[in-house]
């Protein structure tokens, strides 16, 4: 930990212009790059969602052909998961972890640079497939063989893009772990770390444990396609279901990778605006750890219909139901933090409170999905689509937006426009429910996911959902506007920014110096 204090500040000078961003090893610059990249991907993935919702506005084929529709659903998922949500969290970790633990920078700054700069190339490759003969991958982001093996020219590009994203994630995760272990300020014991740091530490382990598994499974797809192996080809002695097991061994922890940092963010924001310490800090840490552990043993619940032995179905049902317990503990803790507080509702708090409401709704539908015999009815329908969009959009993405509003005054030294922020919140919050709530009904009525055209009894709810989608999509332009407006100027932020804010990052000036803590602060 003493390295933090001896870090010299002589390389303040830096190249300017594009070279500054290409060569930077500074955690704030890299955090900014990640966040801007994520914003760009959010709009690209969002544009694809708009195409999907436009086609689904009415039954029949209006805008696109079925193959392009499948390309859109596949690419929307890949871009949003790997391009928007994950980089946003890595960006937040870059900005915040050193400031929160009292360090000058991340532990491995050059690797940090590399792990970011791999990403634009990975996504360039992935998005380029849209313009190739045969188009982009259309077999779903889950890449199930044999269907995914029918992909044309796009296939090797897809696989290598995933490899690159995986490398980037693993490097980012290693950096977080090393930073947290080695660079904490004196007195910053593990059980004093802010929850955002805790949730990220656990997330980093999930990443390190599962990304190589994804890499392995897609490499097996690659050799099945080009080198005549038969890992997943039944005719050659392989097993297509094995891919699903390997994929979801990665995929289920992945969904917690997408939500644990969000738990951390909300656990920072609610106490600030309730002006009251987080309720049950240590139970929050243990709950996060148990969720992470359970996430490794529930992957079978994505595969209840593949025809598992009954013992397997029962095991995955019970294990999945158990996840509700630590998740419930978290929700109860947040509500208890609000209880008897002295609350104000600035934009970050609005998003955080909406997160608790709407994520809980996603949690309820998740609990319903855990019940195997009923899951047979829900599986692969819009009920599942509604479920994971509640946890990913009103969960992960709402938390990311809350984080941006909460910390942007610290990052830029400028306050965002509170009126616009609140307007953005209310429009988003209402439209996102108009978008996703009716999808529960569609799913229960039996509408399968990933179809470009549907039976006429599904028309009304699809229309409502599409209208919600267009409004939600458009209102995000407001978010971009607010962010760039704040970067350019605005009322000056104080160091503490929020009356109830506690933590090391709020002791630094706004904006903070280039190297966060050149002298390690003493934590009591």
């Amino acid at each position: 930990m003493s390295t933090a204090t001896t870090h010299d500040a002589h390389h303040e000078h830096q190249p300017s212009g594009i070279m500054r961003w290409l060569t930077t090893t500074n955690h704030k610059d890299i955090g900014t790059l990640y966040l801007l990249f994520s914003l760009l991907m959010f709009f690209i993935g969002g544009a694809m969602a708009m195409i999907i919702r436009a086609e689904l506005f009415q039954p029949g084929l209006q805008m696109v052909n079925p193959d392009f529709f499948n390309q859109m659903t596949t690419m929307h998922a890949l871009v949003m998961i790997f391009g928007a949500v994950m980089p946003a969290f890595v960006g937040l970790a870059n900005w915040l972890v050193p400031m929160m633990i009292g360090a000058p920078d991340m532990a491995l700054p050059r690797m940090n640079n590399w792990s970011f700069w791999i990403l634009p190339f990975a996504f360039l490759m992935l998005l380029a497939t849209l313009f190739m003969p045969g188009g982009a991958p259309a077999g779903g982001w889950t890449l199930y063989p044999p269907l995914s093996l029918q992909t044309g020219m796009a296939f090797p590009f897809l696989i290598f893009a995933i490899h690159m994203m995986g490398m980037s994630s693993i490097m980012g995760a290693i950096n977080v772990v090393v930073t947290i272990f080695n660079m904490r300020a004196p007195g910053m014991t593990f059980m004093k770390m802010p929850l955002f740091v805790w949730t990220w530490l656990i997330t980093a382990y999930l990443l390190i444990a599962t990304m190589p598994v994804l890499a392995g499974s897609v490499t097996m797809l690659l050799t099945d396609k080009f080198f005549n192996t038969s890992f997943f080809n039944a005719a050659g002695g392989g097993d297509p279901v094995m891919f699903q097991h390997i994929f979801w061994f990665f995929g289920h922890p992945e969904v917690y990778i997408l939500i644990l940092p969000a738990f951390g963010i909300v656990s920072q924001i609610i106490p600030t605006f309730a002006r009251k310490p987080l309720f049950g800090y240590s139970s929050m840490v243990y709950a996060t750890a148990s969720i992470a552990f359970l996430s490794f043993i529930v992957w079978g619940h994505h595969m209840f219909t593949v025809g598992m032995p009954i013992k397997g179905e029962l095991f995955y049902m019970y294990a999945t139901m158990l996840i509700a317990v630590p998740t419930g503990v978290k929700v109860f803790n947040w509500v208890s933090t609000m209880w008897k507080g002295s609350m104000t509702f600035e934009t970050p708090m609005l998003f955080a409170v909406a997160f608790v409401f709407l994520f809980t709704i996603g949690g309820f539908s998740g609990l319903m999905l855990a019940i195997t015999p009923v899951d047979f009815q829900y599986q692969e329908t819009y009920f599942v689509v509604a479920h994971f969009h509640y946890v990913l959009v009103t969960g992960a993405i709402f938390a990311i937006m809350a984080a941006v509003y909460y910390w942007i005054p610290k990052w830029t030294g400028n306050m965002y426009d509170e009126k616009l922020g609140k307007l953005h919140f209310w429009i988003s919050c209402i439209s996102v429910n108009v978008l996703f709530f009716p999808q529960h009904f569609l799913g229960l009525a039996g509408m399968p996911r990933r179809i470009p055209d549907y039976a006429v009894q599904f028309t009304e709810f699809n229309m409502i959902s599409s209208i919600g989608g267009f409004v939600f999509g458009l209102s995000q332009l407001m978010f971009a506007y607010i962010v760039f407006k704040t970067i350019r100027g605005g009322a000056k932020a104080t160091d503490q920014v929020w009356e109830g804010a506690h933590g090391l990052e709020w002791t630094l000036p706004s904006p903070p110096p280039y190297h966060s803590f050149t002298t390690a602060p003493e934590v009591k």
Binding site: P59, G60, N70, G134, A138, P146, L147, Q150, K225, N233, P240, K276, P277, G280, Y281, V306, G307, L314, M317, A324, V325, V329, V331, F332, V335, T337, M338, W339, K340, G341, S342, M343, T344, T360, I361, L367, M368, I371, T372, P373, V374, Q377, Q379, E380, K422, W426, F437, F441, A445, P448, R450, D453, Y454, A455, V456, Q457, T459, E460, F461, I464
Partner: protein, 375 residues
Amino acid sequence: MLVRKLIPWLSRLLGGSLLLAANSAYAEYGLNLPQGVTEISREVYDLHMLIFWICVVIGAVVFGVMLYSIFHHRKSKGAKAAQFHESTTVEIIWTVVPILILVAMAIPATKTLLKMEDVANADITIKITGYQWKWRYDYLDQNFGFYSVLSTPREQIENTADKSEHYLREVDRPLVVPVGTKVRFLITSNDVIHAWGVPDLAIKKDAIPGFINEVWTLIETPGTYRGQCVELCGKDHGYMPVVVEAKSIEDYQLWVGEQQALALASTEDPDKVWTADELMAKGEQVYATNCAACHMAGGEGVPGAFPALKGSKIATGPIADHSNIVLHGKAGTAMAAFAAQLSDSELAAVITYERNAWGNNTGDSIQPSQVKAAR
């Protein structure tokens, strides 16, 4: 302020949408799972409602507390923040109580699951095979089988004709089963993974190439029950419906008799020599149901995904190469082996058709006997 204006608007919108759904001609499909027509489907429905109400009650408590807090513990109302932040007792309570609720939920769920997986003692066995993009039903005990293909006309999909009542959920030949009989389905696939499902029967199972899954049903009331493929299986995934017709035992027996007679009548004379016109007419029909989904009706294909047959080197080159790819397919692509799917005369006809349609005027006509030799 804003909130107060938005809430009535939101409730009107939601209320309006509920009304819309209730008024629609398909109200029974509107908002919830169907109760279905089997003992199992009703048990599943009850489980669904049970877990739903559990969630509603927990939600009401949690959200109630939260809303109370949001309205009363505000700084603007002069609330002073308390500083408590820990209580082992309540942490234990809200860990243990949910566990108890979950156990109470798991017991009936386990019971139903065990029943669903008990495929023993079935009276009839039907094999279901998924193809890109149709289903095949084989009645294993009665030795006949047939394909079941979407029957919605193209014009309805392309919005040049009005959509029929069962748009996209209608087929040329439905699966027919008797009521009051335990029917076992063996589900598999010929190419990619599909999933066969009918909500009214509470059945959904993946069709996986190289593997056979089992499910069963016992339908109580005659009727037509609809579903569709529920696992993404490529371009026309949205266009492979499942239609099940449950008939009384007598009607079912009659139907089986008809099917067996039909199967017998269609066994053809292998030495018959077909005229070019006969082959072309039959070929066009076979092409439309089996090939047009990928290679398109005009033979133009889909660039990059499915090759054009119009002017294709193979369809205008040596007959042996052409019949080879149609019979044996091409591994690792969507081009399936049709040798097992189509009869000699159908294969002869479709190959002849491809060699002469769309200006491919090779003048060749292929006889079923040639196909037989090439198998």
